[in-house]
Every structure is written in structure tokens, then in C-alpha cells.
């Protein structure tokens, strides 16, 4: 007698009647049970969402950016809603690497999912310090280097808008990193292909994109900026077409894999990113809208594969040229 458990086992999903389906993907030698991750900064370290989703089902949890010391972040208001999305200027508030390693990593280790840690800093030395500390933690599968946060004055995006700066920091991080390195790119650049090539040439193992698009909102009744920081990063479904276009362009420019993000709300959105050239996807602002979005995206991708009788999710990657 066969007992149907209805569970995915190591990327082998069996939602179709008898259809064998592979949802597993590999990036820089790291295997993920499915291509669905969480965008940095939208999922904490998973703790807040463990009430809603089974973290074991996710391809990876990508943590909120962590720096060498605690950062207090920006003044409030830090968030504002806009048509089809939101603006944020959190300013990379984080508890610092010590607390992160003592508390957040042990929490995440309880789950059967991959851990990708997002790293931020003000100087190259800051980044290197965090990268070295994380090198001692084998539970961390990959590092994502944040060179694209638009909401802090020093570091971050200063490294992400000029090819030479991006090349330099990627080289330096790669020299110290024990884990494969993902460079998270900014959409606030003139030529995304050029940026992607600079990161690849410096040794990046993968790219993730897009970070938020710089925006602004003015409260016309109070005649004030909606955010204390004046500008903020736009995210949510409003930016999806920009993300798809940029991922397509970057995928044409480089050979290294791309983790795509930007307003993904369901499985169909995720498939669109894969077709544009992403090897995996991250759910970002939509976690705030519906805390169950990650699981919904995973199911949606499986349904798509079943509908079109596609046995391997990898067949979708970059399939539209």
C-alpha cells in the first residue's frame, strides 16, 4: 500500500497525480529545495513570520542586513504607502553581528532551509569584518552584500552606483569570504548590464536584484515629506516591470546566476522573473501585505509547472529571450 503524504521531499514535489516534478535549484554550488527566498529586510530573521509560514518550506531565508555594530536606523516616519506599493527609509536598523550570531542564527538553524545573510557596512572594513565573522558560522550558506540601500548616507549605495566602487568592494569581500557571495544590485543606475559585469568580473558568485527604487512622497495636506528621510525606496507590485526588465538585461550581460525580486506577489509573478533570467526569486514587500505570500508563491510555481507539464523548474530560467 502506498501512503500519499502530500509533502515535498527534497525538491521532489508530488502535487500532480503521479507527476514527478523538480523544484530544486543550485546557485554557486548551494542547493535550494525550491527557488523561493525572502528579500532582505522584509522578513527579519524569520522569527516574526514563523507564526504564519513553515520556514522549512522555503528555499532560503535571506536575513535583514547586519553590520559590525548595532545601527539605530532613521527617524520616523520610515514608511509610507503609495499606489501599488510602499516607500521605506528604515536606514538599515540592525542589532549588530554579535546579537545576530547569538540569537538569530541559532533560531534559523532549527529549520530545514538555507540561510543567506545580508551584510551592510559604512566602509569596506565594516563589510569585511562582518564577512569574516560569518565565515566562522557554517550554518550560513551564502552572503548577500548590500551595496544598494538607498536610505543611508554612508556606505551601502555609495558602493553600488559606480562600476569601479562595485568592483573594488566585490573583490575585497571575495578575498575574505568563506561562503559564496551574492552582490545585491541597485536599480538606481544608468546601465544595469555594466554593473552586473563589474560584479562578475570581480568574482561575485551571484547577483540579486532589484533593491528598491528611490522615490518620494509629499503629504499635500501637511505640506511635508511623507518620510522623515525625504526619499525612500519604492517596493511592491508597482516596481515589478522595472525589475523584470533589469533582470533580463543583467542576465544577458553575465553568466553568474541572478536572484530576482521586485513586487512578487504570487507564483505567476515568480515564473515571470524566472523566464526573464532569474535562477531564484525573493518575496519582499508582499510579506508585509500578506504574511503567507512565500508559501503561496511556492505553491503557485508548482501549479504552473503542473499546468504546463514542465518537469523541472530549471527549464524556465531565462527561457524567454
Amino acid at each position: 500500500m502506498q501512503i500519499f503524504l502530500g509533502e515535498s521531499i527534497a525538491g521532489q514535489s508530488a502535487i500532480g497525480r503521479g507527476m514527478d516534478m523538480n523544484t530544486q535549484i543550485t546557485i554557486a554550488g548551494v542547493d535550494f529545495k525550491n527557488p523561493v527566498m525572502t528579500a532582505s529586510g522584509t522578513f527579519g530573521s524569520g522569527m516574526e513570520y514563523a507564526d504564519f509560514v513553515d520556514l522549512n518550506k522555503l528555499g532560503a531565508v535571506v536575513t535583514k542586513g547586519v553590520a559590525s555594530v548595532p545601527w539605530p536606523g532613521n527617524p520616523v516616519p520610515r514608511v509610507a504607502e503609495v499606489y501599488g506599493g510602499m516607500l521605506n527609509a528604515i536606514g538599515l536598523q540592525n542589532p549588530g553581528i554579535d546579537v545576530f550570531l547569538q540569537r538569530d542564527i541559532p533560531f534559523l538553524k532549527q529549520f530545514d532551509t538555507k540561510i543567506i545573510v545580508n551584510v551592510c557596512g559604512k566602509t569596506v572594513e565594516d563589510y569585511v569584518e562582518v564577512v569574516e565573522r560569518l565565515g566562522e558560522e557554517p550554518a550560513v550558506s551564502m552572503l548577500e552584500i548590500n551595496v544598494s540601500c538607498p536610505n543611508v548616507k554612508e556606505g551601502a549605495i555609495a558602493f553600488g552606483q559606480k562600476t569601479e566602487a562595485l568592483y573594488g568592494i566585490t573583490r575585497e569581500v571575495k578575498r575574505h569570504a568563506k561562503q559564496p557571495v551574492i552582490m545585491k544590485l541597485s536599480p538606481n543606475v544608468a546601465d544595469i548590464g555594466e554593473m552586473a559585469r563589474a560584479a562578475e568580473a570581480a568574482g561575485a558568485d551571484a547577483l540579486s536584484m532589484i533593491n528598491t527604487i528611490t522615490g518620494m512622497k509629499i503629504d499635500i495636506h501637511r505640506r511635508k515629506f511623507a518620510l522623515a528621510n525625504k526619499t525612500g525606496g519604492l517596493s511592491g507590485p508597482a516596481i515589478k516591470p522595472v525589475a523584470v526588465r533589469m533582470i533580463y538585461q543583467a542576465a544577458q550581460a553575465v553568466k553568474i546566476p541572478i536572484i530576482g525580486m521586485g513586487g512578487i506577489a504570487d507564483g505567476e509573478d515568480a515564473v515571470e522573473f524566472l523566464l526573464a533570467g532569474a535562477s531564484a526569486v525573493s518575496v519582499g514587500a508582499m510579506n508585509f501585505v500578506d504574511p503567507y505570500t512565500t508559501e503561496k508563491v511556492i505553491r503557485g510555481i508548482e501549479e504552473y509547472l503542473e499546468t504546463y507539464h514542465i518537469e523541472d523548474v530549471r527549464e524556465l530560467i531565462g527561457a524567454v529571450r
Binding site: G44, G85, D219, F288
Partner: protein, 264 residues
């Protein structure tokens, strides 16, 4: 535990100009029962261009603990940048809610005490369930702009001695809630408050002056409502154990804080 659930709209009416009174029956056993006063829910609107759930405080839980009452201001500037009406005056059907969110008022701390329950404007609703649950000698002081808006005053009257303040003096004390406290020479062992920031600052000062604890409910523009995005923070006196900086998350570590622990 926090959940997103569908809720039946039992009734919705405009109590006063722009102030809506909504009764919801969450279709999830135990949801309403688990609510403590001062907690809030995220309410999903039908407008697909407005994605984030609206954080709205819970005004009251029905006597049989099955339903929730929300009293909210349409287009209130303090509930975020949310400019559209919540449900477009919908009076039937269902709506999704996320919750119960946040930590409520410490009701047990008021037991057997003389309390001052202070509210201003759209901060008044959560005080209804609070004053109902408090086994205390409640003195309720609420402030409005003028006599045309005195929503929930009648509801609160049943749960303590009520004092009113209006900015123009058309009802009760002319001035704010602290003026009303002074005019009526009200003393207390503990303060609970919810209202606009200037009022909460005045309440914090009053508590310091009377040397009594005050628990205040804060609000801030929120995105996730569950503590992940770090959008809604308040500066804290001490380094907060979760954030490891002088910041606490209003949605999860609050919205109720002890007044002398936060820098407002």
C-alpha cells in the same frame, strides 16, 4: 496566535461625521476571545491599489466574546498615509483582518486601584474595552475638538466616572484632557492613555508630576504590523533587548509602553 482571517461584517454605521462604527465576527474560533484591550488588527481594504493592512485598535469585544468592534476615522491622517475609506461604508459581506496584534494595556496592574483613563480623539476607542475590563475605580477623561464629536462618551460612561474636555469649551472643561484632570482635581494610582502625540507627552509629564506610572498607547506609520519591517519604532530610554538599540517596535513591543520608558 496571530492569523489572517476572514470576518463577517455584522454592521457598519457612521456614528458621527467621518467616524465609523464597525462590528466584525472573525470566522476563526477563539480569535475575538483572545483579544486584550489595547491590541489592534490589520484590516485589508477592498481597494487593490492600497495593499497594506490598516492598523486599527480594537474598541470592544462583544459580551459573548465572539465579535469585535472597531471605531475608526475615515481618512484619518494618523492611521498612516491611508487616504481612502476603509470599506467604503460596506455594511455586509466579509473583510480580512490580521491579528490580534501588539500587546495591550496591563489590566492587572490597575486592579483595585484608582485609575485615570485618558483619551483624545481617535485614540479613545481602545479605552472602551480597557475600562470595561479594569476592576478598578475608573476616572475617564476624554477630549474632543468640540461638542459635535463626542463619540463613545456614552459607552465609557458605563465603566467609570466620566470627564469631558473640548478645545472650544462647548462641552466639559475648555481645553485639553490634562486641563480637565486639573480642573476636577483628579488624583490616581495609575494612568492609562491613548491619543495624539501632544496629548501623550502631556500625560507623560502629568504622570511624572504625580509620581505614578502611566501606560500609553502609541501609533506610527506601519507596514507589516508583526515586527519584521522596523517601520514603526519609538525611541526608548534603555537599549531594547530585541533591537539592541534605543528603539522599540510599536507594533510588536507596544503599542502600549510605560511612559517613562519611551522618548516621545
Amino acid at each position: 496566535m496571530k492569523k489572517r482571517v476572514s470576518a463577517r461584517i455584522l454592521s457598519q454605521r457612521e456614528m458621527e461625521n467621518g467616524i465609523f462604527d464597525l462590528w466584525l465576527n472573525p470566522m476563526e474560533p477563539g480569535f475575538a476571545e483572545a483579544v486584550s484591550p489595547g491590541q489592534f488588527v490589520g484590516v485589508y481594504t477592498k481597494d487593490r491599489s492600497k495593499l497594506l493592512p490598516r492598523p486599527i485598535s480594537i474598541c470592544e469585544v462583544s459580551g459573548d466574546r465572539s465579535s469585535l468592534r472597531l471605531v475608526y476615522r475615515r481618512g484619518g491622517t494618523n492611521t498612516g498615509t491611508y487616504s481612502l475609506s476603509l470599506l467604503d461604508g460596506q455594511t455586509c459581506g466579509t473583510v480580512d483582518i490580521l491579528g490580534p496584534l501588539g500587546n495591550g494595556f496591563p489590566v492587572e496592574k490597575g486592579k483595585g486601584k484608582k485609575t485615570l483613563i485618558i483619551g483624545g480623539g481617535i485614540g479613545i476607542p481602545p479605552l472602551v474595552e480597557l475600562s470595561k475590563r479594569l476592576e478598578a475605580r475608573n476616572q475617564i477623561v476624554i477630549g474632543y475638538r468640540d461638542r459635535t464629536q463626542t463619540f463613545l462618551a456614552r459607552d465609557l460612561e458605563d465603566h467609570g466616572k466620566l470627564f469631558l474636555a473640548t478645545e472650544d469649551g462647548s462641552r466639559g472643561t475648555k481645553g485639553n484632557v490634562v486641563d480637565a484632570v486639573r480642573e476636577n482635581q483628579l488624583g490616581a494610582d495609575i494612568i492609562y492613555a491613548c491619543g495624539p502625540m501632544p496629548m501623550l507627552r502631556a500625560v507623560k509629564a502629568l504622570a511624572a508630576e504625580l509620581k505614578i506610572p502611566a501606560y500609553i498607547s502609541l501609533e506610527e506609520h506601519m507596514a507589516c504590523g508583526v515586527g519584521a519591517c522596523l517601520g514603526c519604532v519609538v525611541k526608548t530610554k534603555e537599549v531594547h533587548p530585541h533591537t539592541n538599540v534605543n528603539n522599540a517596535r510599536i507594533c510588536t513591543d507596544g503599542p502600549v509602553f510605560e511612559a517613562d520608558q519611551v522618548e516621545i
